[in-house]
Symmetry: C2
Subunit: 470 residues, 2 copies
């Protein structure tokens, strides 16, 4: 979907338009170019990134244009008339190659390759970075929280109130792609076909004269999915006893209380006490839901202490990417007029990889991911990959199964296929993470996954480096 | 502006709709209510918050509704038909009182009071929190960065590529409200009347055979505002010498190079070297612009070391609220059917303040802010304010000038006035921060600003507490 339509073209950094005008007036209107989207560091000090945002990005690239109103505005702030005449007719007609949405990717890998003429490939930079960096940040966080919560506990996105303005729209989709079951965000559920859930706030309880009446009324109106929030006044002395009373009354009518929700206090202590009280009342099937400032580390720690929690509502940490706040993805020119190019830097780690690239994944006989290799297009045959920055380090990948990861996603400005649903993406994420060895998934100081470059790419980089440095 | 129109109503947490249906079917359709928006902690471990988001929020409240498509969707996921018939005709018809946009506010203060009937005041909770929390987070960061950069240096928002999806739209407005001069974000400039700026990326330089040609072409095409990015290959050995060459060529044609931009490396070391080289070439007027991972602390530290920087481009840290990621604003029921109510908690700090409130600011003879007082409506006369959580602590405010801070912003679902422009808001922020004593603006461990409650509010809270706890 595209909230900016029909003004998608304006959602860009001013310098992209300045450069576009410069290319246009400076005789580079027909120059071709290709850019790489990659990142340098995994967020959360983690070992992987779940790359998402494809569906949204491709929708927006198809809509990328400048209306008459937009063109008039750009004229009023000083852009050139001839350039604007051209811009008014502009549509993105380039190509996008990339990994599948939901792929597990690693630093320095070419995740997307976007090309066409120089002007169009330059203009869309900001949009590519804005969408991919944020969506992947949230999907990666969601996958980590899923890892902490285990396969079978329910995970609900509660983040909308702390999401960054309209960023909340994409955040909820990204959360489900990364492994959440549902969201509180009804707009995103409506737009993306997600499951939305939600029962009561403290204000529901406060709006009645007493907690028991508030619970009874809710149970009468919503007997099918009744989850009672038990901490408005006093969790163990009022909330849980009142919930038990209501559950027993529901039981007499053949109905069942779904659960209780704890939203403050020590969730381990309270959940154990609450579980005991519920069990003693014969209410073993009533679930305990926890919320309040949760993230993957708090959830891990609660479950390590055997807190009997069935379900988690996670908000701020999920949708704001707590611990990182941004994925540091960049969009760098790799080909200009058919020739490889790269950006230099004082440190080799911040130089980029030149040329038109492919990306392969190598798995052992059990299907476990062992290494990724970045190579040049067209395909070359090689048995060794080299460390991208530490010369002399190499790995033999001859024995492994090889899987190409880049596919064509857009051609001549049109999507090549239908986008996957968030549910389907989430299944793919789970299956791929299942093949990533444990040591790369550790929260604390994970082992760095091997990413190498092919012999031909290594030679090309050294050659371009020498030319640039001379 | 409102990107969600006509589906603003759906941008809500599912539980708001569940509760709305519950109130509707449970006989509370005509119950009145009022909620308070306040926060508990200043972000960034700072001493104040710059509250913004008003204009956006009020626009969206005016548009708040459920289209036929939205109602059909809600029916498909199980909402009640009678409720939905009512919801299809629903418009927000309540009131909003609040501080002025750009006001400096502190923890526990009633920043907004939103009321009407219980259903409408409940339904808009998520929207209020989503907009106000994020906008204020960014405006507060912007004000801190302005403080670090001093009054006269130029501050440019470069954050769009790392902003949280469409959150970037509001982020740039909030940045300018908080004290930035301009933004790279053309869409927000177009929508909110901000100034947008931007010159070149590394790809511009890479797209030419050599750096000098890239600089010369840019200078020829954009002689009026020519800022050259000097770190694509080697800042001191190539970028600055080439920029000097181009500046001298421009000089011969009666034109002037505006500046150079440093985007990597040690910005203190490089700016001092670059300044010397430029000055030696007689280019004292050429400015040095810095970007790359800046925030208020890095800028403070660079200026402490006398780095000769004229202007800063700040991205990720600004638009993602680095260091906090979210303002913890909450929306709590304070009145129900004309009666004061509050949420209890195991700690007094997390209980809320009951009743319909006013907010006053007390200033000394020099106009410096000395304390704020939260009181009850209608106005009462008092000379002492009490610490909201530590009994026995009080302050005499009789000698100070008193200024009421809450005003009516919306009545019967309609704005009571035209919104202020971001530029005007930014001037207001500067004037108000100028009156806040230094010790509350320190980055490290700032002195806590005095916020007290009136005698009548203290009595009311104690009375409601006793009733609830019995």
């Amino acid at each position: 979907m595209n909230l900016l339509d029909p003004h998608t073209g304006l959602y860009t950094d001013h310098y992209e338009l300045t450069m576009a005008q410069g290319y246009f007036l400076g005789g580079k209107k027909d120059t071709t170019a290709e850019f790489d989207y990659h990142f340098r560091q995994c967020p959360y000090q983690g070992g992987f990134v779940v790359l998402t945002g494809h569906a949204e990005l491709l929708d927006m690239l198809e809509d990328y244009r400048f209306t008459g109103k937009a063109v008039d505005y750009l004229g009023s702030i000083g852009f050139d008339k001839n350039f604007l005449d051209w811009l008014g007719k502009f549509r993105f007609s380039g190509y996008v190659h990339g990994v599948r949405e939901g792929e597990i990717v690693f630093p320095h890998e070419t995740c997307l390759r976007i090309g066409g003429n120089l002007i169009e490939a330059q203009l869309v930079e900001t949009l590519v970075l804005n969408i991919m960096n944020f969506s992947s940040l949230v999907s990666t966080k969601a996958a980590r929280i899923r890892q902490a919560a285990g396969e079978n506990r329910d995970l609900m996105d509660f983040g909308l109130r702390r999401a960054h303005g309209m960023g909340g729209v994409l955040a909820s989709r990204a959360a489900v792609c990364g492994g959440f079951n549902s969201t509180s965000n009804v707009f995103s559920a409506f737009q993306y076909g997600l499951r939305s859930t939600g029962t009561m706030a403290h204000s529901w309880v406060q709006s009645f004269d007493d907690e028991l009446t508030a619970f009874r009324t809710f149970a009468r109106l919503f007997p099918e999915k009744c989850i009672l929030l038990v901490d408005t006044y006093d969790t163990l002395n009022s909330g849980i006893p009142n919930a038990i009373k209501v559950a027993q009354e529901m039981g007499k009518e053949g109905k069942q209380l779904t659960g209780v929700r704890l939203d403050s206090g020590d969730l381990s202590y309270l959940s154990k006490k609450a579980r005991r009280m519920l069990d003693l009342a014969g209410l073993e099937s009533v679930q305990i839901v926890a919320s309040n400032q949760l993230d993957e580390e708090v959830i891990s720690s609660l479950l390590d202490q055997s807190a009997p929690l069935d379900s988690f509502g996670v908000g701020t940490a999920l949708v704001t990417g707590k611990g990182s706040g941004a994925l540091d993805g960049v969009y760098k020119l790799s080909m200009i007029n058919g020739k490889p190019t790269m950006k230099l830097s004082e440190s080799l780690v911040k130089t980029t990889l030149p040329g038109q690239k492919s990306l392969y994944r190598y798995s052992d006989r059990d299907g476990n991911f062992q290494a990724d290799g970045i190579a040049l297009e067209p395909e070359e045959d090689f048995e060794t990959i080299f460390h991208p920055f530490e010369s002399g380090k190499s790995s033999n990948i001859a024995e492994y199964e090889r899987e190409p990861l880049l596919r064509r996603l857009m051609k001549n400005g049109k999507k090549t296929g239908k986008p996957e649903t968030p549910e389907r993406i989430s299944e793919y994420v789970a299956s791929r993470l299942g093949r990533l060895p444990e040591e790369h998934k550790r929260f604390l100081n994970p082992h760095i996954y091997r990413v190498g470059i092919s012999p031909a790419l290594l030679r090309l980089r050294d050659r371009v480096l020498q030319v640039k440095e001379k």
